[in-house]
Symmetry: C2
Subunit: 330 residues, 2 copies
């Protein structure tokens, strides 16, 4: 091991597009060590003026939908079209036994060898809020390194899509046709977040079912998200990494969506609102954590929770006691 | 004005079903005055052992869907079937010019004259969290007063349905057929919350459209919420306060849903989980408010927000500064 790089060395390396330095910069950003966090803050502040220029695209889908194969095909096509593509992952399950998305080194082999692509596996462990927080900062770093398209991958479970949708410009949901009810069931809010739904693996014997699914989703979206002049009407397409079908169409829709937002001056407004929501979500997450980790709260919590469940005190009274233990008077 | 009742007098009056005392007890619960809040806490603690026995039913729908007419018809039918019915309102818009739901004295005239019904308008002002918090406590008071069915009405906007859905046993969404895209559009998550969707005003010329809408919603629900042994499959019915169609069917479905939950032991588990979530939501709301009202945070906020929007500091750095101003180190 050689000596630690200075923040300025990291900054210069990232800005020059040095992939090894970029990797170390992201490792620093992801670190939860106290001294690393201070240095990460300095690095982020130094890179911030060089960020913001990438098209940020969220991609979600349940396990088995073919996310990595799709992202590889899509990413390669984007590099062919002249883009420099970074792929980041937000994985709320990474601390669980299921294993991290993007963690498998054999995934996206071809894309990972491309000089115009950079793939970053999900940081392990941490809360979703924490991981997602790091991902937002990783976007900044990748943008400073010259990537003009950032793909943020997440799995279709829990709160992660909502979190990712609020850090990207465009949100793509991958679905399967004929995958049975369980896979097909749409998690709360996902349909409402999507700018585009792609019915994936639409090839071979699967093609007819994919086309039927496309019509079904278009029907559901028509009910859920009526189009107005101010609101993008989400699209539905079929796609296949095997045949390449849909890949260019998806890119065209992403570009069209960007023009739609920019025409109304909404693009910058959305980015600004996202930044403020991000700030407040970090604040609220910080105080939530501080309450839950407060020694006096922890000392009293078990009894209070039991009393609430038993109905011997009201939730209101218990909440007041917790706030009081934290030092806030009701 | 006569002297203040003691908490014990209020308790005795509520438990005996005295409607005037019940009204005053709810006014105390709704009050934001500091000394009232202390007394309200005592009253709630005294009534808590007598609560929990009502069937709690949330009812939502956008303005114009016919909520009050439906609730009057439904409530009257329930009293005929031997229930004692309390109606409470959660209205996030009550502080705005639109006016409070249930605030119009001429609404639900017949139901309000019934000896077996009690109608409480939405408390005016306050945040949704605040109003909803009061509503949860009002449910406790109404249950202690002997009402075995509590209807919680809310308007179909914003976060209020999610909040109400988490304080009731059953969530009913009223919709209109052929009301144009704007009314028909389903807000985020509403379809996911519904245990039952009733296409209201299904009478006269509207009947055919209502039946088509019912089929459409059943299709959308089939995609959104596949049934499993552990999960209730949401129903869709047509209803009319004019003809009385659907009213008994809705009650039957509510009873069937209750049996479904009780059979698996899920009913009590859901109530317990709701109470703990309620406690934590009050805690989180309390700290959120405390941060935003903190003098040092307020002093620095405007500059920090401007810097985040301008991109001169990161949201992470700004959040750390806000937390620091509040007294929490990052």
């Amino acid at each position: 091991m050689r000596g630690r790089e200075t923040i300025n060395e990291l900054k210069t390396g990232v800005l020059s597009g040095d992939r090894a330095v970029l990797g170390r910069a992201l490792t620093l950003i992801e670190s939860n060590r106290l001294d690393d966090r201070r240095r990460a803050g300095e690095l982020l502040a130094a890179l911030l003026p060089f960020s913001g220029k990438a098209h940020r695209i969220g991609i979600t889908g349940v396990p088995g939908v073919g996310k990595s194969t799709f992202i590889e095909a899509f990413g390669l096509r984007m590099t062919e079209r002249g883009h420099r593509v970074a792929v980041l992952a937000v994985d709320p399950s990474s601390s669980v036994s299921k294993g991290s998305i993007l963690g498998d080194k054999t995934r996206m082999e071809e894309l990972s060898r491309s000089a115009d692509a950079f793939i970053r596996p999900s940081p392990s462990g941490g809360s979703l809020g924490g991981v997602a927080g790091k991902t937002r900062e990783s976007i900044v770093v990748c943008e400073a390194a010259g990537f003009d398209m950032v793909l943020v991958e997440t799995v279709g479970v829990g709160q992660s899509e909502v979190t990712v949708a609020d850090m990207v410009d465009f949100f793509l949901v991958l679905k399967l046709a004929g995958a049975g009810d369980e896979l097909q069931g749409i998690k709360r809010g996902i349909l409402e977040l999507a700018d585009l739904i792609a019915i994936n693996k639409a090839d071979g014997d699967n093609l007819a079912a994919a086309r039927r699914a496309r019509a079904e989703f278009e029907g559901a979206l028509h009910i859920l998200r009526p189009a107005t002049a101010d609101h993008w009407l989400p699209r539905v397409v079929t796609a296949s990494a095997v045949t390449g079908a849909g890949i260019d169409e998806i890119h065209d829709i992403i570009v069209e969506h960007r023009r739609f937002l920019e025409a109304g001056g909404r693009f910058e407004a959305i980015r600004r609102a996202q930044a403020l929501r991000w700030m407040w979500s970090l604040v609220d997450q910080g105080v939530r954590t501080a309450v839950r980790e407060h020694p006096e709260v922890r000392r009293r919590l078990k009894d209070l929770e039991r009393d609430v469940v038993d109905g011997t005190i009201s939730a209101t009274a218990a909440a007041a006691k917790i706030l009081g233990a934290f030092g806030i008077d009701g």
